[in-house]
């Protein structure tokens, strides 16, 4: 906006303002009515939905799938959409930080005098796109249930090693399923395709030693399974064995 446009805006605004009504009591009445609605909604939600408490936090447990509050779903889903591991920092910090900077600086790069949404096609389109993107990602996050079932057929080289190896493989599959790995990793048909890499053929890409190291000392945001290895070394070994057998 140049000086002339600024002055015209201030003049027009002054006219509109002088034709308006005083804040008290007209705007205050509307605001109070809205406050009553807000209060009623909060009270209704508190009564209907309550404030149930889950099981107590247990740092040694790994059978819990982390899930943020629903209004963080869109940030969480961003991790799923951007898959390659090299780009994970971009999804976790990069994109949100860039969006935030763009949001902060909005009045400094959008300096046009036009205010009507239908005459600001770029701004309005961008705004609608962001609203839709956030809505869609939130929906995806809400729809992606934490899968607890992993159906992978026992590979031929395991079944040829006898019933004990098969039992170990199946036990490992159960530990992995209960640990909520499938919330972020894909296992064949099961699990979500991100934020973590697909583990369908992880055994072909990494030796068992490397898998174990990753489980104990993962790169963020994956939680560490060192508690499980201390609490129950057998289950941890089954987990590593199962993952190493995925080829």
């Amino acid at each position: 906006m140049n000086k002339q446009e600024k002055e015209r805006y201030l003049r027009d605004y002054g006219t509109l303002k002088s034709q308006g009504k005083p804040f008290f009591p007209y705007a205050v009445a509307k605001d109070s009515a809205m406050a009553i609605v807000v209060m009623a909604v909060i009270i209704a939600m508190a009564i209907v939905l309550g404030a149930e408490l889950g099981p107590k936090a247990d740092p040694t447990s790994t059978t819990y799938t982390p899930r943020p509050e629903w209004y963080f779903f869109f940030l969480f889903e961003l991790l799923r959409v951007i898959k390659p591991p090299a780009l994970v920092p971009l999804a976790t910090i990069g994109v949100p930080t860039i969006c935030l900077i763009l949001l902060f600086l909005l009045p400094f790069y959008d300096r046009g005098p036009e205010r009507r949404p239908e005459r600001r096609p770029i701004a309005t389109t961008a705004g609608i796109f962001v609203v839709c993107a956030i809505g869609y990602l939130t929906y995806l996050g809400a729809a992606a249930g934490p899968p607890t079932q992993i159906d992978i057929p026992v590979p031929a080289n395991i079944s040829s090693q006898g019933p004990e190896a098969v039992a170990n493989f199946e036990a490992g599959s159960q530990v992995v399923a209960q640990s909520g790995c499938a919330a972020c990793h894909q296992f064949g048909e099961n699990g979500n395709s991100g934020p973590g890499p697909a583990l369908t053929d992880i055994g072909a890409r990494l030796p068992a030693q490397a898998i174990q190291r990753t489980l104990l000392n993962p790169s963020a945001p994956m939680p560490s399974f060192s508690a499980l290895s201390e609490e129950s070394p057998k289950q941890f070994a089954q987990m590593v064995g199962f993952l190493a057998a995925l080829k």
Partner: protein, 270 residues
């Protein structure tokens, strides 16, 4: 000789003269109460001169065309106030230690009078506040209300949005159940992947390299002292700027000069 009639003596020469401006002066209990109230307000105003500012804020005009979309900001503030009040009551019973936090919330839910209700109001109030702040921001964006001369107020508003999200993130850990614990671990790890400040930020949040006994009290201090104080201060500044610059009119409302001042209507007496 004609006698001059003396004027009648006043009925009670000791009674004080009537107050100017009022026909009968304070009378009855109500009148005296009004008088006492007025003089108390006068006493405060003589020392603070607050009435000018209050009149400036309350009797400023809002432009023509102001509609229900313009109540979203004050509704957000109201949700914040509700969070503050319910939060104070929860803080009376909450114990921010890793061993006692879960039990104290259980105590609030099961034993405290209306405890679960207030806890529920606080929990769902956060969702309501987040929705309202996004709606308020959407209104500001689509109406172009962030443009000259209100750029600074937009920047403050975005800061308030970030702080509101910080509030919900830090409050999510406090019940200390499985859900909040694991979600917070992942959230702090995500912060840690950031460039440069990331590792320091997550170490600051965890109060150390690992999630430990002091993490919870750190989140509690952030949640109930640091961020709400900043929110209240910035909200005050936000409101001051709103009162100073005025709320915008809807963008489709055309300013029309008052009829009697339009050039073609003004007639000059010859």
């Amino acid at each position: 000789m004609a006698k001059i009639k003396l004027p009648a003596a006043p009925s009670n020469p000791l009674s004080s003269p009537k107050r100017p401006g009022k026909e009968y002066g304070p009378s009855g209990v109500l009148g005296h109460a009004e008088e006492a109230g007025a003089s108390a307000v006068d006493w405060i105003d003589e020392r603070t001169s607050l009435s000018g500012g209050l009149r400036w804020a309350m009797f400023r005009k809002v432009p023509k065309g102001t509609n229900w979309f313009y109540t979203l900001g004050s509704a957000t503030m109201f949700a914040f106030l509700s969070q503050a009040v319910t939060g104070v009551f929860l803080a009376m019973y909450y114990d921010p230690s890793a061993t006692r936090a879960y039990e104290s919330i259980q105590y609030i839910n099961n034993d405290v009078f209306l405890g679960e209700f207030v806890h529920g109001m606080h929990r769902w109030g956060s969702s309501v506040m987040v929705i309202l702040i996004f709606l308020h921001m959407g209104r500001t964006f689509f109406f172009g209300a962030y443009k000259y001369p209100r750029e600074l107020n937009w920047v403050i508003g975005v800061a308030l949005l970030v702080m509101t999200m910080t509030m919900s993130f830090s409050g999510y850990l406090l019940p200390f159940d499985q859900r909040s614990y694991w979600a917070t671990i992942v959230g702090v790890n995500i912060n840690g992947t950031g460039p440069l400040v990331g590792p320091y930020l997550s170490e600051f949040l965890r109060a150390g390299p690992y999630f430990g006994a002091t993490t919870l009290s750190r989140f509690y201090a952030i949640h109930m002292l640091m961020v709400p104080g900043a929110i209240a201060a910035l909200m005050g500044f936000h409101l001051y700027l709103v009162a100073k610059l005025g709320t915008t009119a809807p963008p489709w409302i055309k300013a029309k000069a008052p009829e009697e001042l339009r050039e073609d209507k003004v007639t000059v007496d010859q």
